[in-house]
């Protein structure tokens, strides 16, 4: 009951704003090029959905994120494990890694555009870089954070290298690694929007640019909402998975 009440209160503001928006556009307080009616946005959504265009853009964007994220996450996991296990690897790679990470993905895009052109490779590389950095940092920190006692037990049990990795390192660092995956995916999604805004002829980011060029604000707002919804679902989905995967953990 209380939850329902809170939900209701939370919906008051959006409802009020939506009402204001509706009234403002119905009375033409603002020209439709500046603020189209909410109905227009909905209509543009229905149109693009019915024609399948929207699903096409969504599919392309999602595919890019998945590909780029997969590349970045695997590389990040590998480097993170290596850095976490071996101080020597850490010494060698850390300064260069920090320098690469210091320049935000947005700063890399023009440089990478000149090297890779504006094709699919560019998108994958940019997204992979965005996912790679948090993945590496969190994995390395997670492995460093495994209590020394566990490593001593592993020594006493004469674990092989492989057993050590599988039975000690990965389970011990799973929580921070998962944090890395979540941040990695969030960053990958943001990078996708950035790269599609700058250099793309399809996908959700492109839809924004296209709508902007045509002065179709209904399309722009619709694309923004879709981007928000997908970002939300990705984040919440991983959060759920994170909780589920960590059920076995005993909270100290």
């Amino acid at each position: 009951m209380r939850r329902l009440g809170l939900l209701f209160v939370g919906l008051l503001l959006p409802a009020f704003l939506l009402g204001l928006w509706q009234v403002a556009s119905a009375r033409a307080w603002l020209p439709p090029q500046i603020l189209p009616a909410p109905g227009e946005v909905w209509a543009s959504f229905k149109d693009m959905w019915a024609s399948g265009d929207l699903q096409g853009h969504i599919a392309i964007s999602l595919l890019r994120v998945i590909e780029g994220f997969a590349v970045g996450a695997v590389l990040g996991l590998a480097l993170g494990v290596a850095m976490g296990l071996s101080p020597v690897v850490d010494d060698y790679t850390r300064p260069l890694f920090t320098a690469v990470a210091q320049i935000p993905s947005l700063g890399w895009i023009p440089f990478l555009m000149m090297i890779f052109g504006i094709g699919e490779t560019l998108k994958i590389v940019v997204i992979a870089k965005a996912a790679f950095v948090p993945m590496t940092l969190n994995t390395a920190a997670g492995i460093r954070g495994i209590p020394r006692g566990y490593a001593e037990v592993a020594d006493a049990l004469r674990f092989t290298r492989w057993q050590r990795l599988r039975l000690l390192v990965l389970p011990g660092a799973i929580a921070p690694i998962f944090t890395g995956i979540r941040y990695g995916l969030t960053h990958a999604w943001l990078a996708l929007v950035a790269v599609e805004l700058l250099a793309s002829s399809e996908g959700l980011g492109y839809l924004l640019v296209y709508g902007r060029q045509m002065f179709w604000l209904d399309t722009v707002i619709m694309a923004m909402i879709v981007i928000g919804l997908i970002g939300f679902v990705l984040d919440k989905g991983l959060e759920r998975l994170e909780i589920r995967m960590q059920r076995w953990r005993v909270v100290a």
Binding site: G10, I34, D91, Y92, Q102, P110, V209, G211, V220, G231
Partner: protein
């Protein structure tokens, strides 16, 4: 100092620089893609002396700061309000969280339609980027104020304003500063992003985009290096500011 010097860390960057230099000199790599490093240095010197590098940098930073300041102040206001009043929280937080899901760059087309391509639009965008982390962290900080101290406040018959200025905000300070720190970083990235998409007027982002369009790799590289360097300095500055502001706090040593 020198004993702690991590010489291993220099191996890969130096190796890469050497490979780059040989490749672009022998022509193994097209120097248009990978100009020799001294060309980049020469470009930096030229731009610094005769070009608009300093103007570009100053203007980017000025916008960055304006947006950051506005976003931070508004963020502390809203965050405090949300933290102090449950009603405000239930009313506003769901909408705020909903809007926050939209990737920040996705706002740029809308902002450019509303505010044009000038400074207003850029500052508005930077302000938005700085706003979000400050709201969230201020809210968290105020909300986690100790209940015992709140009781003390009641005993002392604090007014509402006194509650906020003497009790909630000082207690929330570490958390607020975390938000401000994030805001500084986000605002700088947003300042560059805004210039990418609203390519009117000077700025470091504009310099990078212009370099790409004219296919001048040395300019792009220079811009990137500056971007990273400024980001690094801002981060350093934020950290020392944090330590300095929190020097009274007992949590300081733990942070």
């Amino acid at each position: 100092m020198l004993a702690g010097w991590n010489w291993r860390g220099a191996v890969i960057p130096l190796g890469l620089a050497l490979a780059w230099e040989t490749a672009s000199r022998t022509g193994a790599l097209d120097p248009r893609f990978m100009p020799p490093l001294e060309t980049v240095a020469a470009t930096a010197w030229r731009e610094l002396r005769h070009g608009d590098l300093v103007t570009d940098l100053t203007i980017s930073l000025a916008r960055d700061f304006a947006g950051f300041l506005g976003g931070t102040l508004l963020g502390i206001l809203l965050g405090t309000l949300l933290g102090v009043s449950r009603w405000a929280e239930h009313l506003v937080m769901p909408s705020f969280n909903g809007l926050r899901q939209i990737a920040i760059l996705a706002w740029i087309p809308l902002i450019s339609l509303w505010f044009g391509f000038g400074d207003e639009a850029k500052i508005a965008f930077i302000l938005m980027s700085a706003f979000t982390p400050v709201v969230l962290n201020t809210f968290e900080g105020v909300r986690s104020a100790s209940a015992q101290l709140v009781e003390v406040g009641h005993v002392l018959r604090f007014t509402r304003l006194q509650f906020i200025t003497r009790l909630y905000l000082p207690q929330a300070m570490p958390s607020v500063l975390t938000g401000v720190h994030l805001a500084l970083i986000y605002a700088w990235v947003a300042a560059i992003g805004a210039e990418y998409f609203m390519t009117v007027g000077p700025g470091i982002g504009g310099l990078i985009i212009a370099g790409r369009e004219r296919f001048e790799m040395d300019l792009v590289l220079l811009g990137m290096i500056l971007l990273g360097l400024v980001g690094f300095l801002i981060n350093r500055l934020a950290r020392s500011l944090e330590t300095w502001v929190l020097r009274w706090s007992p949590e300081r040593s733990a942070r």
